[in-house]
Amino acid sequence: MKRDDVLAKIFEAEFCEPKEKAQKERDLQDSFKAASKQTNTAIYILQPAFLKVYPQYRAKRLGKEFPELPFKLRGN
């Protein structure tokens, strides 16, 4: 597992359909736990770190995947 795998899970949970929310959010929690176990880093340190860097990842991905959005997103 790489850091982008976890960031991708956050993105999927945020932008999935409402009916998929519960499952995608569970997947996200599982990936936090798996990353914590793999890296031997406490989840209460790892999770805030992921949340802090995530906006940059999201802006780039939105720019690539949703170019039709009426916003000038960074990374586009």
Partner: protein, 150 residues
């Protein structure tokens, strides 16, 4: 997010006296049309609000991407703090209401679990921009070290 509907209803003048021919003294047809106008049930209104809430949650993320990713303005951060808090609060109330009334949400493809999940995700959105536990640089360092990135 549109809580406009509730706001308008709360502030609408309540007719205290019903006159013959309708509230505004119109004809009898207007009176009956007004009196027996079908209105959405509270459950239907609740479902509508939920759908609007999910829509608003999606849009606050577009707002974050557009306005808060790099060097956010103070007023944008303040707006985000207020709206995100309101969305989280609505999520908590909606979860409680849906559990207590056992309202059927499957008719609109929703569930109590989906409301709870979205509320937790919104708390993450709040932390992203209003949690001062660590800076971007410190967070990046934590992840580089954890994943052995050079």
């Amino acid at each position: 997010m549109s809580f406009w509907f509730i706001f308008v209803r709360m502030n609408a003048p309540f007719p205290t006296e019903t006159k013959y021919g309708g509230h505004r003294g119109g004809n009898i047809l207007e009176f009956y049309t007004e009196e027996f106008k079908p209105e959405p049930s509270p459950i239907e209104i609740f479902r509508q609000h939920l759908i609007q809430w999910f829509f608003a949650a999606k849009h606050i993320r577009f707002f974050e991407a557009n306005k808060l990713t790099d060097s956010p303005a103070e007023e944008d951060l303040a707006s985000h703090r207020m709206v995100c808090s309101a969305l989280i609060t609505f999520g908590e109330f909606a979860t409680n209401f849906a559990r207590q009334t056992k309202v059927n949400l499957s008719a609109v493809g929703l569930s109590v679990e989906s409301i709870e999940a979205e509320t937790r995700l919104l708390r993450n959105n709040f932390k992203m921009f209003h949690d001062v536990l660590m800076s971007y640089g410190e967070a990046d360092d934590v992840l580089k070290k954890a994943f052995n990135e050079t």
